[in-house]
Amino acid sequence: MRKRFGINGSTLVMGLYLLFLLLPIYWLLNMSLKTNQEILGGFSLFPQDLTLANYAVILTDPSWYMGYVNSMIYVVMNTVISLAVALPAAYAFSRYHFMGDKHLFFWLLTNRMAPPAVFALPFFQLYSSVGLFDTHIAVALAHCLFNVPLAVWILEGFMRGVPKEIDETAYIDGYSFTRFFTRIFMPLIASGIGVAAFFCFMFSWVELLLSRTLTSVDAKPIAATMTRTVSASGMDWGVLAAAGVLTIVPGALVIYFVRNYIAKGFALGRV
């Protein structure tokens, strides 16, 4: 009897918590399926006449959907760059002692913790002066500020779990470093690479301050495009809501694959 009650208590807590999490998202979804007249005209828990017009606006207007394309481009670029430089570095940290390694590791962490607001203006000037302003690569490089340290930390956590004997055996068998790394080592930490990629993807996707500061037209992210609805005649609530829902989709799609590793990633590889 007692045990059954306990389970019910937990279910209740989880139910309430999930309800709290999902209500605001549901409300956004609900609004995105209504017409503006219905949103402003009256209050209803469900859309009275379901419409996909708001989504149609976004998916047919290049100035809207290019926002998604731009975001995707720089997010993918950032993920690739971050992983490419973080993989060898994480290997070095997990396998060797060298001069200044501990200080370096800490310094990397501090970059993950540095307030983006501090860097907004200098980044703007730096990238303007080298002619990269309003390009995808500028945003991708700027996001490396916090994603590279994160990737190094996560990958180092996973690499520590691979026994060193594997490296040594491979070297004795005559593998060169690059061959060993790409053929043997990377498959061993495949899940780690996946998790690191997910986190780079995610933090680059959700960041707005830097990406908005560094772009104006050609590389403008969707999140910045969304502010546009305010200036149009009145407020286009329906389209705003639809755009918001569409920004949630990519995250929701990939989250399923990494669900068991999310905590490890957030813990910087330290669970």
Partner: protein
Amino acid sequence: MNKTVNQKAWFLILPVLVLVAFSAVIPLMTVVNYSVQDTFGNNKFFWAGLEWFDEMLHSQRMWDALGRQLIFSAIILAIEVPLGIFVALNMPKKGFWASFCLVLMSLPLLIPWNVVGTIWQIFGRVDIGLLGYFLAKIGVDYNYTQNILDAWITVIVMDVWHWTSLVALLAYAGLQSIPDAYYQAAKIDQASRWAVFRYIELPKMAGVLMIAILLRFMDSFMIYTEPFVVTGGGPGNATTFLSIDLVKMAIGQFDLGPAAAFSLMYNLIVLSICWVFYTVMTQMDKRDGV
């Protein structure tokens, strides 16, 4: 793991070093540069020494923003950490429902930050938002754009909504790593639920909780987008936190000198707190023999 000394490992670090130097050191030096110079426009700068630092240290505006920031971070930690642990303790241990909860809980973490702001901006509106509408219906005078207290509550509830799952996920991962034998031993000893929590679960979660607190503190300390979208720092300056104030100063008013001095002090605060946490974390690692 016993590591070997190998100075050549530096070559493997080099790409990261170059990249992070480009995206962190150069901008930071620009900030340092501005912080000790003054300008009358036309890109002509002259040496101002520590004037800006002096000015910022005596500026009521910065101290106010810092005060608000500390209060905000303290409230956030005080709510999210216990709530996160509580949720983690109530999560299903395995099976379909565990995955189900994990996926749903991670959802808010993956929403772009300004969309989070937009969601809550809409959600709290009295005319079209679910929350605002129901509060008005039951007679609560709720208006986050006018009332300071309402604005604070909205921003805090939004942050709890957004980030509590992070604490819960980390605490959950910590709980998963506790072997069953511990619980069986506790059962034999007839330990109370509280004793199990206090002497088994809490110590085992300490490491990840440390990281959770570090992340939550840092991220709430540099929060910008969400309150900016919801309240724009208002009413008045009531929800103007450090980052919002900094961006206002640097990009809005283009007061480069003071903004740069402010940035450096802001960064130093973050750095020192980060160092304290890092030291504690590595000590814990050593003690556990990881």
